[in-house]
Amino acid sequence: MSKGINMNQYLVSSAEERPDFAAIAEWIPKGASVLDLGCGDGSLLRYLKEARRVRGYGVEINDVDIVMCIANGVNVIQNDLESGLSDFEDNSFDFVILSQTLQATRHTEALVNEMLRVGREGIVSFPNFGYWKNRLNVLRGHMPVSQELPYQWYDTPNVHLCTLHDFEMFCDRQRVAILERSVMTGEREVKLLPNLLGSTAVYRFQRGI
């Protein structure tokens, strides 16, 4: 079926375009159970299903994305993240992922807590507002618009942008223990001055004591 093949090509390329996917996949052992919040078209879940044989579910609100997820053969539940994760039982997943969505959530604190109620560990990725290009934009007197932050200030869904430092302070205050961090710019991993030189951050964390 030619239609299906075309679609597959689109989906594989979309997974390859997202360097945080590879970083996330590296942390997820084979056969793990994964809940992907704000899963979009399901390409991360499909990637994890193929690369890691995960048992996965996505949560998404957007109609077109729901259809794309179903076409992708991944489980998707149409729901608003902001209304909580009441469909999901305590500790029912190994990992709860929030990929490039944290900055667009209104009740960020509540959602991170929900992630750690439903999952053993949480994984978030987000655009680092502290990245030097973003800082430069602000210094020049403008809100940053870039590949990671493609929106204008007036139409952005990103209501809670933060830097690496901000997120780490947030975790500290929420008694969330960070287990691992991966910072990158494009596909290149950033070790030196990550809060300045990294455009995207990925964190793995669990409930702290």
Binding site: V64, V67, I70, A71, N75, I77, Q78, F88, E89
Partner: protein, 392 residues
Amino acid sequence: MAQAERVLFLGPRLNTTNSIGIVRAQRAQFDTPLVFRSGAVLPRYELVYETYGKLNADKSNAILICHALSGHHHVAGVYADQPKNVGWWDNMVGPGKPIDTDKFFVVGLNNLGGCHGSTGPSSIDPETGKPYGASFPIITVEDWVESQARLADRLGIKQFAAVIGGSLGGMQALQWSLAYPERVRHVLAIASAPRLTAQNIAFNDVARNAILTDPDFHGGNYYQHNVVPTRGLRLARMLGHITYLSDDAMADKFGRELRSEQLNYGYDVEFQIESYLRYQGDKFAGMFDANTYLLMTKALDYFDPSHDFGGDMNKAFARSKSDYLVVSFTTDWRFSPQRSREIVQTLLHNRRNVSYAEITSTHGHDSFLMEHPHYFDVMRAYLDNVASEVSR
């Protein structure tokens, strides 16, 4: 990528023209007694059904369509001698449509107890030579699935690629995966519920009371009296109809529009909505059997897979081996999205593969029968994957 581009691969979104064309009903006779959940026994019975498309060589591409309260076996297409008698789900079932008859062998039947050709209260009981009437046993969703499984045996279908139904039909689809986990790969439960709420049972009881208290009902044996409890059936349908529509849809369609120019200060039809409901009630009462209506509402009330598991729905679904698509509609208050989410929660608990779509629609419970782009895209996307699992 633009959204319009992203959905292109799903093919044409709306398909009103591609009909399966001329179809014909078939009959299957069963002489092995069917023991109902109530303990009653039906020694022999007939089921009337239709099929569309071709069963493939390994018989893996069959889809069963289960009908809701007033549905029947005529799901799609038209009859040669009745070109205007279009199947009740013709927008969904046909060549190139979401339930694609070019890919699937689709089976629709009239449920046992129905009034469209399968053995029901209005059929002649061969033991007595009279219509079954009140003696037709109360039938449950479980009993229907049992009779449907026998029809599947007859057609040589060991496993359905999918069992699909809306509303009461969705309950049958769910029950299939519980009664015959090995025989159904995918369940599509649309605008359905794992069991009725008290409010829903209450609506059914008022509808039944309208029929039961009609002087022409004669304890269910009205056939011998050559009368029909039309008034009761009509009221039952009017009540039902109100609950199938949304407040908004009714306001949009009728508002407070009057039938005539001025107010008449009487009990005759004053508002258009009254006229519409009476018309719907009359139409239905003229073609549907009151005893069947009673049976269908009872089947709805009794359905509760958790009944044998101390009320624990999670335990009831532990047997399932199927994958599920659950669909609800935002303005459906008779089978609300919340009820569909209860199905989803139970499936998540049991680690079944499940996807859930909540369709934004203004048409209330009736939405499941309507052509809606997102709804149809969801169905098409899901069933395209089901089709890719089966050989041509």
